[in-house]
Amino acid sequence: MSLIGILFYAFLAIIAVASALAMLIDRNAIHSALYLVLNFATVAVLYLALGAPFIAFTQISVYAGAIMVLFLFVIALLGAEKLSGSEPLKTHRPLAIVLALVFIVEIVLFTVFRNQDISPMVILTQDFASPKNIGLTMLTQYALPFEVVAFILLSAAVGAIMLTKAERSPAYKLSHGEK
């Protein structure tokens, strides 16, 4: 692979990791959300590089677009970008970081370095991950999961409504003769 290619990938990697860390570290929830969007976008580029255009675009539209917007909306709605009060679990941080490092070492050491010999990316056939192909597969071979996802979404919708439906105030109930 060319040097530019390598630099390109390195750049992506740096952005992906940096944005993730930034999301973790930044105290402001809105900033975090924006860093996450950046991260998702970077990952989408990686998807493209991996020959998954459909997923990449879905990533942008669904994740970076819809979902993160929803997040931003809620943050704004609740005005919850920053929290007051002090950190109650002080011992957590070092422990968590140590554990995280161990975890990384475990996964990276054993998966990345020890076992995954360099295996160059294969040039993909043109229609491997085409939307058409994906769509066909999804509605034939994966018809059942597809249906299931529908029900998941439905129940999520019902649930979301249940959770946020305005509760009538006790005074209202009283005046309307409800129990």
Partner: protein, 664 residues
């Protein structure tokens, strides 16, 4: 249930179970109907039951005269397990019948006496309802004692052995609310039982040893094998003999277990006479005589027996000298005399022991009963005094000889019979004690001079303390108002005394030197290696010593009687510390208290609290609290923070991965 022996035997032998069952019938009758019968009826039934036993014993004796080999009368299967096959079998032989006669004969007399005595006593103690109970216990005792002496095996002997122990317990504690602190009698009863149990422990071990070595507990079977064991395993025989001896020291009040007997005087006087002088305490002597084969095959053990008997004889005699309680003197005297008998057995002079046993039963029963009569007289005196003079001053102990004096005139019959008993006991010829004691002394003279000296000293002391007693009780002037008002007892009391006095006087004839009726009688049952010879020198010597002792006692007590109940014993002045030690019984009770009882109490407290509740239960409860503290510790981890929970998931996966990956 009942065993039948088909071999022909004198049908009179088949009556033998009645010696046990007549008293049992007496118990049942009195138990069921006693309340309605009244004192007379109760007394009559009980006495008839005991008398019936006596009659049967006599019949058996007559039968034995014709069939000297005796008989074994199987009666009932008892325990039959594996190799253990134990039956209740009666044994009628000359030895057993002697005991039966003594037990039932003396027993009957005492029953009769008790009818009179207890009538007074229950009224004096304030619980007439206990009259019936007394006779039930008394009959129970006769039954148990009969089981003991009529047994054909060690187990049935043991049954009787424990049974008489129980009766002793019940009767010592008869006035269970009386005595020191109100608990004195109860404690005395308990002491007797426990001391006896220690002895029983020894006997039990002996029985186990016998069973596992001889394969049986039947006398015949066991004794037949003894010669074989004597050559092959003499150690076993020694062990058996010594454990048996432990039993004997318990029952027959020898060192070291004699301590219960003086306290046993807490029982009503007929009990002291019957159980703690004439019959029960001689069971040990009987046992050893019965097991003569074993003892004679174990000379080492026999030596021990002899020494224990001799030391007990002198030791108890010494204590007797220092006592003031009329019954205590007799009690220690009993211990001492039992020591004579045990020593005799130890010397192989079983006949002498048996002879002394019989005569001792006569005169000691007589002495006790007379003492009882004295006490009754004193109590009556107390009551009259109480009624006559209102307050009557401080409490007067009716048993303390210092409170007596001059009773010779108040209670003449009692005095005369008492005198007879005293002379018999002191070994004055030709009364019963002279002959029997002399046989023992003669045997000692032949066997071991040292023991002989000890025994003869004991005989000297015997005469001395008996003389002291007579002088103090019957002579001089009355030293308390109770003695002043003392009255002679009723005929119901005195008639048995007279009979016993006659027996005490004539009892020596039983084994009169040269005639040796008893010896010839017993030789059908026990081995008599050589005929007891009358040793004139010994006899004369002992008689002289007894006379000297009586003279000495007259010099100390008779010539100048005690002035009043407060005055100090003249011996105390001359002997000082020794007398105090004798009076305090050489502090043996206190020693036992300090060495055994206190530590045991402490140990059991220690076991009960620090060990059981503290340590063992502490471990149990500790496990519970450990679990609880663990629970509370783990509970703190559950701190309510979702992030902590997430962290625990991470901990989990990191740990699992670490394990898995390092294993791959």
């Amino acid at each position: 249930m009942f065993l039948h022996e088909t071999t022909s035997m004198d049908p009179r032998f088949l009556l033998v179970p009645l010696v046990v069952f007549l008293p049992v019938v007496g118990i049942l009758l009195n138990w069921l109907f006693g309340k309605r019968l009244g004192e007379k009826g109760i007394g009559a039934i009980a006495s008839l039951a005991a008398g019936g036993s006596f009659v049967i014993s006599v019949i058996l004796m007559l039968a034995l005269r014709e069939h000297t080999e005796g008989a074994v009368v199987p009666f009932m299967q008892w325990i039959s397990v594996g190799s253990l096959d134990l039956n209740w079998t009666f044994r009628v032989d000359t030895l057993a019948v002697v005991m039966m006669l003594v037990v039932s004969g003396v027993g009957t007399l005492i029953h009769v006496y008790a009818v009179g005595y207890m009538h007074e006593d229950v009224h004096h103690q304030g619980d007439p309802a206990r009259f019936r109970r007394f006779f039930i216990f008394l009959n129970l005792f006769i039954a148990a004692m009969m089981i003991l002496v009529s047994a054909d095996n060690f187990l049935m002997l043991f049954v009787g052995w424990e049974g008489v122990g129980l009766c002793s317990y019940l009767l010592i504690g008869f006035w269970f609310e009386k005595g020191e602190d109100g608990l004195g009698n109860a404690r005395a009863a308990k002491k007797a039982f426990v001391a006896n149990r220690i002895g029983d422990f020894g006997l039990l071990i002996a029985i186990f040893l016998i069973f596992w070595n001889f394969g049986s507990l039947d006398f015949e079977t066991v004794f037949h094998q003894v010669p074989f064991f004597a050559s092959s395993q003499p150690g076993v025989l020694v062990a058996i003999a010594l454990f048996m001896l432990l039993g004997v020291t318990g029952k027959s009040a020898q060192i070291p277990l004699y301590v219960w007997l003086p306290d046993a005087m807490a029982g009503p006087t007929p009990v002291s006479a019957l159980i703690h002088a004439a019959t029960m305490v001689t069971a040990g002597v009987y046992l050893m005589t019965r097991s003569q084969v074993i003892f004679s095959a174990a000379p080492q053990a026999q030596q021990v027996v002899m020494w224990i008997g001799a030391i007990t004889a002198i030791f108890a005699a010494l204590i007797a000298v220092g006592q003031f309680d009329i019954k205590k003197v007799l009690a220690y005297s009993t211990i001492s005399q039992l020591g004579f008998m045990v020593a005799a057995v130890g010397m192989g002079a079983e006949v002498a022991a048996m002879f002394h046993l019989v005569t001792h039963a006569f005169f000691k029963a007589l002495l006790f009963l007379s003492a009882g009569s004295v006490i009754l007289g004193m109590e009556k005196g107390l009551e009259t005094n109480h009624h006559g003079h209102g307050e009557g001053g401080e409490h007067t102990d009716p048993q303390d000889m210092r409170n007596m004096g001059g009773l010779r005139k108040k209670m003449p019959i009692t005095f005369w019979v008492y005198l007879a008993g005293t002379l018999a006991l002191a070994g004055i010829a030709p009364l019963a004690g002279f002959f029997s004691k002399d046989e023992i002394l003669a045997a000692a003279n032949e066997t071991n001079k040292f023991v002989f000296v000890i025994l003869i000293s004991a005989a000297f002391l015997t005469a001395f303390y008996m003389g002291r007693q007579v002088w103090m009780v019957f002579f001089g002037k009355t030293r308390s108002s109770a003695a002043e008002h003392a009255k002679e007892s009723a005929p119901l009391v005195t008639v048995p005394l007279i009979i016993l006095a006659i027996l005490s006087i004539l009892g020596g004839g039983l084994n009169f030197p040269g005639v040796l009726t008893l010896e010839h009688w017993l030789e059908h049952t026990i081995n008599i290696p050589h005929e007891s010879a009358f040793n004139l020198i010994v006899a004369a010597g002992s008689l002289a010593i007894a006379l000297v002792a009586i003279l000495l006692s007259w010099m100390v007590y008779g010539r100048t009687p005690l002035a009043d109940s407060k005055s100090i014993d003249p011996l105390a002045k001359s002997l000082g510390g020794l007398f105090r030690a004798m009076n305090k019984k050489f502090m043996v009770d206190e020693l036992y208290q300090a060495v055994i009882l206190k530590p045991y109490t402490r140990i059991s407290d220690f076991f009960a609290n620090p060990v059981d509740q503290g340590f063992i239960d502490g471990i149990v409860n500790g496990m519970g609290s450990l679990a609880n503290s663990l629970a509370n510790g783990l509970r703190k981890l559950q701190n309510g923070y979702a992030r902590t929970y997430a962290l625990s998931v991470v901990v989990g996966i990191v740990a699992i991965l670490a394990y898995l990956l390092f294993r791959v």
